[in-house]
């Protein structure tokens, strides 16, 4: 299965959630700034990268984890991509889109805007790091829900195979 964590720029919340999913970041405590900054794609993507699916890693269930920036499309992004998959004749059950925007706080929005849009990396990065640490437990809860869903689906598949 392919899991695509998506947020406005694909630089902060989606990257953080993907890293928690892959156990690159701890699932029980807030990480240090250096840990966040060392993540691949963290505070690194620019406007022309929006839309690109960036591979982050493979989780313990064998699912491929990606991050993407979707700008202001909100939940529309998933609807558009699912429609595209249906037209292309691809089984859209193979892909899970996870919107991380509802878990983002104002600090992350302001910091992300200053760092990515205005080019004020130093100030913006500090604010976004503070915001990410404050919202960190929300991302842990989100990833927990995603993994529960994956386990349920795996269980259903097993039941179908047995019957």
């Amino acid at each position: 299965m392919k899991i695509i964590y998506n947020c406005f720029g694909g630089s902060h919340s989606s990257v953080t959630a993907a890293a928690i999913h892959l156990r690159i970041l701890p699932g029980d405590k807030t990480p240090r700034d250096s840990e966040l900054l060392s993540l691949p794609y963290f505070d690194a993507q620019v406007a022309p990268d929006h839309g690109r699916l960036r591979f982050v890693g493979i989780d313990e269930f064998g699912n491929e984890i990606y991050v993407a920036g979707k700008r202001n499309l909100g939940t529309g992004y998933e609807m558009i991509m699912r429609s595209f998959l249906r037209i292309a004749g691809i089984n859209d059950q193979e892909v899970i889109f996870i919107d991380t925007m509802p878990y983002v706080n104002a600090w992350m929005v302001i910091g992300g805007f200053l760092s990515r849009q205005c080019g004020l990396n130093k100030v913006g990065r500090k604010i976004v790091l503070y915001g990410t640490r404050r919202a960190y437990y929300r991302f842990i809860i989100l990833v927990g829900r995603v993994k529960q869903r994956l386990l349920k689906e795996a269980g259903r598949l097993c039941e179908n195979n047995i019957s």
Binding site: G51, R52, L53, G69, Y77, I80, M81, F84, A88
Partner: protein, 158 residues
């Protein structure tokens, strides 16, 4: 091959472009002909992600329209990567027509939702498309803004 036309809601410029390739209208079409096209101004809200099957072109290619909001370029990039990840072998072409008078069609799409203005909005959109048709038809003939998502173009990309 599948050809997907992208615009704001998948039912204005994209329908005209796909219908032109399907041979349902010509470059000198009248407003009434455009307004009567299947799925023209078919939206009942402003939700993106809806798609419509328009028909086939003379070569047998399937023509679709898809509402991509104001981010057709971003959707093309995502679709390209997704096709690559899922290792799809079919050839799909994405055509971005969302830049054609985008603000005008956004306003018309909004007006269409208000009952007394519904018919006027559709007619206004059709009139605008009549003026756009020669240019749009030329772009379709020249295959401008066509983004093929096939193995060959992806190898070139990398």
């Amino acid at each position: 091959m599948k050809i997907i036309f992208l615009d704001q809601l998948g039912c204005y410029v994209s329908v005209a472009a796909a219908s032109y390739l399907a041979g349902k209208i010509y470059r000198n079409a009248k407003a009434a002909e455009v307004a009567c096209l299947p799925f023209f101004a078919a939206h009942r809200d402003l939700k993106v992600g809806r798609f419509y099957y328009i028909g086939q072109d003379p070569k047998g290619n399937e023509l679709y329209t898809l509402g991509a909001g104001g981010q057709a370029r971003l959707i093309i990039l995502s679709a390209r990567d997704l096709i690559k990840i899922l290792e799809n072998k079919d050839i799909i072409v994405l055509v971005d027509v969302s830049q054609e008078r985008s603000l005008f069609f956004k306003v018309v799409a909004l007006l269409k939702l208000f009952w007394p203005l519904e018919k006027a909005a559709v007619y206004l959109a059709a009139l605008a498309l009549v003026r756009l048709m020669p240019g749009l038809a030329a772009k379709m003939d020249l295959k401008m803004n066509w983004e093929p998502l096939d193995a060959h173009s992806m190898i070139k990309d990398n």
